[in-house]
Every structure is written in C-alpha cells, then in structure tokens.
C-alpha cells in the first residue's frame, strides 16, 4: 500500500500537524518508504494468532477509589503558555 498527496494531507490533519503544499511530496516519499518497509509483514501467517496486548502477563492493578492528591492547581498551570486564575486559556472555541 502507498499513500497519495491527498492522503498525506488527510493524515497530517488527523495528526493536527500543519503541512505546507511544498512539504507534501517529500513527506509522501518518506511515508511510502516506511510503508514499503513494513509491507513484508503481509507474508507472515498470523492465522489464529492473538494480538499481543500486554507485555508481561499480569493482572491489571487497580488502586483504591479515593482522592489521594490534589489542591496543586499552581503546580499544574505553572508551565502553561496562557492562564487566568488557574484556568488554561485557549483561542475562542464557541462563537
């Protein structure tokens, strides 16, 4: 499988990465090189094989459903580009 220029633009938008028209051909070439490389997986017989979903067999750990942290708003917003009284500020979302 390989991707065309339209698909490259679609993936970039899904990934929320701005791509200029000038960058598309180059990216297309690189993505297709990677896709050609992974193509060899199609020759593996995976009939009846379960996908690996856990690296080491272990039961999912659950912690007690209690509040054990908090009241650290200052620490949480301290690295934000724009804030106002412990809120993150973003460009207007709702008209």
């Amino acid at each position: 499988m390989s991707v065309d220029a339209t698909t490259v633009r679609r993936i970039a938008h899904l990934a929320r990465i701005a791509v200029s028209d000038a960058e598309v051909p180059h990216l297309q070439g690189e993505l297709n090189a990677m896709l050609a490389f992974v193509e060899q997986l199609s020759e593996v017989n995976v009939e009846g094989v379960e996908p690996m979903t856990s690296v080491t067999p272990m039961e999912m750990k659950k912690r007690a459903d209690v509040v054990n942290d908090g009241a650290i708003a200052d620490a949480i917003v301290r690295n934000a580009p724009e804030t106002m009284s412990d809120f993150f500020l973003v460009p207007k979302v709702v008209e």
């Binding site: 929320r16 990465i17 791509v19 460009p91």
Partner: protein, 491 residues
Amino acid sequence: MTDLTSLTIAEARQGLANKAFTARELTDAHLKAMEAARLLNAYVLETPDRAREMARAADEAIAKGEGGPLAGIPLGIKDLFATRDIRTTACSRILGNFIPSYESTITSQLWRDGAVLLGKLNNDEFAMGSSNETSCFGPVANPWRRAGSNTDLVPGGSSGGSASAVAAMLCMGATATDTGGSIRQPAAFTATVGIKPTYGRCSRWGIVAFASSLDQAGPIARSVRDAAILMRSMAGHDPKDTTSADVPVPDYEAAIGKSVKGMRIGIPREYRLDGMPGEIEKLWSEGAEWLKAAGAELVEVSLPHTKYALPAYYIVAPAEASSNLARYDGVRYGLREPARNIIEMYEKTRAEGFGAEVRRRVMIGTYVLSAGYYDAYYLRAQKVRTLIKKDFEDCFAKGVHAILTPATPSAAFGIGEKGGADPVEMYLNDIFTVTVNMAGLPGIAVPAGRDAQDLPLGLQLIGRPFDEETLFSLGAIIEQAAGRFTPARWW
C-alpha cells in the same frame, strides 16, 4: 592524586568510604571536566549549584555513617526524565522551557540513595532516533574517533548524551531509556555498558513517554559492576506505574563473579545477516568462545520471526507515539503558536514544535491507527509481536539461560552520514536490539572489541524475564576477557 573522573563507581564508593576524597571533590572534578568538554554537546543543561549542594549533603551523610548506596556518586540524567524544578525538554522544541513540579520515580530513587545530579543529558527528540541527530539541541559527538581521523562520529541514540558523557568521563554513570535499542546501541558505539531491564522492572513514571509498551529505563556505566550498582537503585515496584512489576529487586552486584558453568547460551542463526561485516562475525564467535571457556555450553537456537521485528516495531512504536504525543497541543505546557482558532493553533504549534523525525513518526502512527487501516497494519503487527515473543519463550523453554548476539550491525558512523534520503537506513541500526523490546525481555550490551578502524564494538546478551542477574554474570565474563576501552582525549 589520580584523576577522580576516571574512577569507576565501585572505586569511588571505596574512596569515599576510606575518606581518600570527599563527595564535593568528586563532584567538582566532574563539573570541571564537563566545562572542558562542551564541544561534545553531551549535556543540554549543567546544574552545578544543585550538584554542589547534593555533594555537600552526601559528605554530611557519609560523615555520620548514614550514606546511601550511591552517596556522593555524580550522575548525568537523560533529558527524558522529569526532574523537579529543573528544565526537562525531551530535547524537543515543543516542551520549550518546561519545568516539572515533580520528580520521576527513578531519579527520586537515585537521590534517595545519595547520588548527585550533574545535569541533563542530550538525546534524540522524544527518544526517536539512533544517532542523537534529531535533538533540538543539535547532535552529540562520540568521544571515539576512527584511528588517524578527526571526523566527528555519532554516539548512537537515542541515549547519545548519556553514552558520550559516560565514555568521556563527564559523569560516573547515567540514566537512559530504551524503546528499540536506545540504551544498548549507544553503549556499543562508545565502549560503555548499557542494560535494558525487563519491561516492568523500572518505573516509567515521570519519564517522557514515547511508546509505552516498549519503553524501559536502565543505566549506562563504564563497567558491568557499575551498571549493576545503578540498576539496584533504579529498579523496583512503583504503584504509580500500572505496568511496574511487583517483584523483589535482587542484589545485582552479587551476580558478578558468579560461576556460569553449565549455563546454556543460545546462538540464534537468524542473527547471522547477509553482508554482515566479518569483524562483527569474528567478535560474535570470540564472545561465544569466552563464555565457553568459562564453562557455559553453546547451543544453536532459532528465532524464526527475527526479520519481522523491525517492520512490526515501525508500526507499533509510531502508533503508540502518535497517541502519547497527542498531549503536546500548546494548551497546558510548552510551545504555543498564535492562531485564529483552536484547530489552527494545534496544527501550527505541532508543526513548529516537532522536528522532522517526530512529525514523520506521528503521521505514520496516525495512519496505521486510522479507520480502514487498523487491521491491516496495527492489528497484524501486534499479532507478529506475539510470534516474536513466542520465539523467545520456545527457546528459553528448551533450557537456554541467555542468548548471545552482536549489539549493532556496525561501529559508530559519521554525523550526517546516514538516513538522509531514506529513513529506513537509520532504522536498520536497531536490527539486533529491537526484538528484545518487542518481547519485553532484558538485554545488556558489553564492550567486546574494536573494528579495523579502532572503533569499539559490543556484544548483546538477552535474558529470561526478570533474570538480569544472569546477564550481569555473563557480561562480567565478556568484560574480563575483552578488557575495558577508553577513548583518547581530543576535546
């Protein structure tokens, strides 16, 4: 007095205990060496004030007889580990001037045991790379050069700063992380020892995430013993990481010098690649002979799905990365590019903040997870991963204790030499190491020889889950036979 920076951790520990020198003197010697070695670009941030303060505290603790196992030992920390109140960037523009308000579990355990922070070490952006050339702080130079040449070589990656700093004696040991070979490949390129522990052995909490089912932290050091000393402090169960294993941490150092008599060492035939340089082949059989001479038994084994590990990795790792890196959106931390609306703000911020390699991997990851392609790519890769893991399980079930392979397909290469036209050329560096991440196993790289141009080469030992001790025992045999290698100082 001998140069304090040339000591191993084990030697420095002895010297501090005997009052031959103080932690402050040891730290000052390293700070001075770092200043003189800025040409290597191994550190992206030096923290001399913090270092001196920690060294002073270590001296006090030692005087009171309360020094921890790493009291006064100066370390470098890969810039992927969050360090409280100290800039942490993953060497990406998108994190900008991020100052964590928390400390990663691993580094907090190192400070608990008395270690001293010298500074933050360079790495490939978000640990995506095999040469440390994708860092937003620029490439790191390998302290090793080809005989008679002054061409700068890469130290490997992604833990290139860690490997370069340890080899150049700019710290006694360093933290590193390994998603596809990022501890073991740079260790092999710089004649240092690097171990990627079993998945779950070390907490991932507070480490910038790349591919969460593959990422695992470990140490890079100048000897097998030093790596064992650091591992003991880094390992351990952490309730803050749900994949952290609740198993006891052994005294890894005790494994060094243990007899390997009767151990069965697997030599996998699939690692004998077409066109593999003769010197790699020679190194591999030499390593096997050393283990045999120590009483181990060599057995040929088969890991039939080896060749599919790297392509499967280049689906699984980017897929997980595209998900993990979704958090960099210009809202809560790091870079923000101004824009008219929020979508444009995300897109411009991420285009500006991510480097080329990261953009490429996030896009591939997005594609293989997108509707209509998920089954063909991602699900298939996860099934292939099951088969890769099973190859190892079958091999261990036949009584094999560890597997010996080359660490890398070549010695260090020049900065700018690889991956310019085709990204896959660079990816092939991890061909011997990536299988280990796919299966979640421990692997150690130990310096074992030199190539025709006098550059270091390493061997890799792969172990059973949670059996790092056997790797330390076997690694020590190789180290003893091969000797230790130190680069000639040119910086």
